[in-house]
């Protein structure tokens, strides 16, 4: 017998309301109770053993011992409740979750601490004055970092000017042109991204100052930063180009386009937003670099707006030089500058996220207007 089952044709929509969805809980009240009880009893045990019975002391050690006792206890309880396999799973979950949360909190705390130490001595004069007339004994709020901000902008800007064409073209080579050299070059770009930052500075110093006689300047700093920025931009841009679907390229080639036109008109425009993100990430990577600047920009308490001649200051370098003076005033100014630096990095990163979050192929406002105009002309 074949049975026809309701609903016969169109199921009535009104019925939906009375259905009770199954609630699936991985973590129920008993688990929460076990977790809490274990945490508490581990604390008590730890306190008893640690503080009373053995001659141990010290805050951090106490918490490490507590965590170990807690995990052990929770493992035993879960084993009693649900068997050894589930116990392992539970303990693993607790370890992963606690580690993940502690890491994120600890690292955010680093940023928070810099903000906490830096923000209260930040006055508007930080953006207008320099350290020219400020000595080690001046007040913490005296002087400013205008010269360092100018220097950072010029140095990083020049480095960006150097790296954007080079990095994007290198990525185009790796991904579009290819050939025998692509694989070794990719390895080499990886290797370059591992060059210690101080060696980038030392190399520029050795090659241009000692060998060619060029003196400290913002331009040398920009060159040193380029060495660090180039592999970042290249790799990030390469990843973006790889995301452009191959069918698009072949479609354009099949229409009879030359490789150059296919790159310029299909691949690069499609990847445009990703490329911008790649560049911003590259900037964020080098804007806080200190070590290469020691050998190239050298530092300067006065404003030097000309990046091609004379020593120049930069924010990270200023922090480094101020912090090395063991006095309250300069150290506080270093914290203030570090706060500003952190804000700059955060801002760059947020911009990259906002732009990059729109995904490939997104057409921005300006671009849309340009396209409209072109279409109207045609």
């Amino acid at each position: 017998m074949s049975q026809t089952i309701t609903p016969p044709s169109a199921p009535p929509q009104a019925l939906q309301d009375d259905e009770i969805r199954v609630k699936i809980r991985r973590f129920d009240r008993a688990d929460a109770a076990a977790l809490g009880a274990c945490a508490l009893s581990a604390f008590c045990l730890d306190w008893l053993v640690y503080e009373r019975l053995t001659p141990l002391s010290g805050g951090l050690g106490f918490w490490i011992c507590w965590y170990a006792a807690f995990l052990l206890m929770y493992g035993f309880v879960a084993r009693e409740q649900r068997g050894p396999l589930a116990a392992k799973d539970r303990v693993a979950s607790v370890v992963m979750a606690s580690t993940g949360i502690v890491v994120v909190v600890a690292l955010s705390f680093v940023l928070g601490y810099v903000v906490f130490r830096g923000y209260h001595a930040l006055r508007t004069n930080f953006f207008t004055q320099t350290q020219e007339f400020t000595g080690p004994l001046s007040k913490a709020t005296d002087g400013g970092g205008a010269h360092a901000i100018i220097g950072t902008i010029e140095e990083v800007g020049l480095a960006t000017l150097i790296c954007v064409p080079l990095g994007v073209l290198s990525a185009v080579f790796l991904n579009e042109v290819g050939g025998r050299m692509a694989r070794p070059l990719r390895t080499l770009v990886d290797a370059m991204s591992a060059v210690p930052s101080i060696l980038a500075g030392l190399f520029i110093y050795v090659a241009l100052n000692l060998s060619l006689g060029l003196h400290f300047s913002g331009f040398l700093a920009a060159l040193a930063l380029s060495i660090l920025m180039l592999p970042t931009v290249t790799r990030a841009a390469e990843v973006v180009l790889r995301l452009v679907p191959g069918g698009l390229r072949e479609g354009a080639l099949a229409l009879g386009g030359t490789e150059w036109r296919v790159s310029r008109m299909v691949v690069l425009p499609t990847a445009r937003i990703g490329l911008v993100t790649a560049v911003i990430l590259g900037i964020a990577r080098v804007v806080g670099e200190t070590a290469p600047l020691i050998f190239t920009a050298f530092g300067n308490p006065k404003t030097n707006a000309n990046p091609f001649s004379g020593a120049q200051q930069a924010l990270p370098l200023m922090i480094w030089q101020l912090y090395k003076q063991p006095l309250a005033g300069p150290v506080q100014r270093a914290w203030t500058a570090a706060f500003v630096l952190v804000i700059i990095v955060l801002a760059l990163f947020l911009i990259a996220r906002v732009i990059g979050g729109r995904g490939p192929g997104h057409v921005g406002f300006v671009r849309r207007r340009l396209n409209d105009r072109r279409n109207r002309v045609q």
Binding site: L60, A97, V103, L188, V189, V195, L202, R261, T270, T290
Partner: protein
């Protein structure tokens, strides 16, 4: 009709077509993908198939385009070569002076012509090892937390946050390590020395705990964790969902599934991320220079004050040194350069051979 033609790429197919049709020189354009595919007929060896040789003659524009892209790629090669060459040339007098003892000598006293990188290299590696001992397990756990455990809604924000923290300048970590962490770590160091002093590395011979390899290593580990986590997370997130479902459908727990599928798949990423972290830790300058109390003798007592790294030594000493000592420091820099390159090459080789190699960005 118009609306249909405009696709998401921001140009119209028709305009693309028009542009290409208007091209003056349409030389034969052949995709060169055919190369390297050979069909071997093993049974009948006598019959030699004649393969079509595809000659590509490119239009001039394409030749220029290829040449430009190629020379941009060559810049990387040239720069890397120049770094090696210049450091070698400049440090040559010092290297010639020290000869092979440069690799074996433990003292760093260039002005007395007695110097070598043996002790410095060991001190450098000590910091890196402390950093990685903490960073690698923590990064793996954090990456697993983000990809497998965290509630779905917070995964993207957490990923962004980790990427952001990877961009925090090292000087910021240095400042924080010096001002906040060091005074607190000193207590832990004392605790370790008192209770675990019987283990050689926790033994102390002096009573100073500030500026130790241990503290510098912990700060460097905090800098390395976001970088490692970012790489490892990326690879974990690409673990094949089909295999993950397969493991769960067999009755595996989440941890069982991770051990059977995610960790084996992500091995390349774990190694790649760790090696990347190692490279960073070996070359870290500013954070180490801010924290460490510089010494140049080798020691294994990592929790007592005093340690060093080649990068920090260069940053701290360079401008105070005599010309000959500067050359010696350049030689040390050269050694650091070679070591970081070796570490990185090793990482690339291991990663490219692993299954998740294609997905690993280092």
């Amino acid at each position: 009709m118009r609306a249909l033609e405009v696709n998401a790429l921001g140009f119209t197919w028709r305009s693309l077509f028009c542009h290409i049709c208007r091209l003056e020189s349409l030389g034969p354009v052949v995709a060169t993908r055919m190369k390297g595919r050979n069909y071997v007929s093993s049974s009948v060896e006598d019959i030699r198939e004649e393969r079509l040789e595809i000659r590509v003659s490119r239009p001039p524009a394409d030749r220029v385009y290829r040449a430009v892209a190629r020379s941009a790629g060559a810049v990387t090669l040239v720069v890397m070569g120049l770094i090696f060459l210049f450091l070698l040339l400049r440090s040559w007098p010092a290297l010639r002076d020290a000869r092979w003892s440069f690799l074996t000598e433990s003292k760093w006293n260039p002005d007395a012509h007695q110097f070598g990188i043996f002790a410095l290299m060991i001190l450098t590696f000590e910091i890196a090892i402390v950093a990685l001992t903490i960073a690698v397990p923590v990064s793996i756990a954090t990456a697993l937390y983000i990809t497998e455990y965290a509630p779905r809604a917070v995964r993207r924000p957490l990923t962004s946050l980790v990427d952001l923290l990877a961009a925090v300048p090292s000087i910021v970590f240095g400042l924080w390590g010096r001002a906040y962490l060091e005074p607190r770590m000193v207590n832990l160091s004392k605790w370790l020395a008192r209770h675990l002093g019987f283990i050689p590395i926790f033994k102390v011979t002096t009573n100073t705990f500030a500026g130790s390899t241990f503290i510098a290593g912990v700060v460097v580990s905090l800098m390395v964790i976001p970088i490692c986590t970012a790489v490892i997370r990326e690879v974990f997130s690409q673990a094949p969902p089909g295999e993950k479902e397969g493991a769960l459908a067999l009755g595996g727990t989440r941890w069982g599934m991770i051990r059977a599928v995610v960790l084996p798949f992500g091995r390349g990423g774990i190694i790649g991320g760790s090696m990347l972290g190692l490279g960073r830790a070996l070359g870290e300058t500013i954070a180490v220079a801010l924290i460490i109390s510089p010494i140049t003798d080798k020691t294994i007592h990592i929790i007592q004050g005093g340690g060093n790294s080649i990068a920090a030594l260069i940053a701290n000493r360079f401008f105070e040194s005599s010309p000959f000592a500067q050359r010696a420091l350049m030689a040390a820099g050269l050694a650091l350069f070679v070591v970081t390159l070796l570490v990185n090459a090793g990482a690339s080789a291991i990663v490219s051979r692993s299954r998740s190699g294609a997905a690993t960005e280092i």
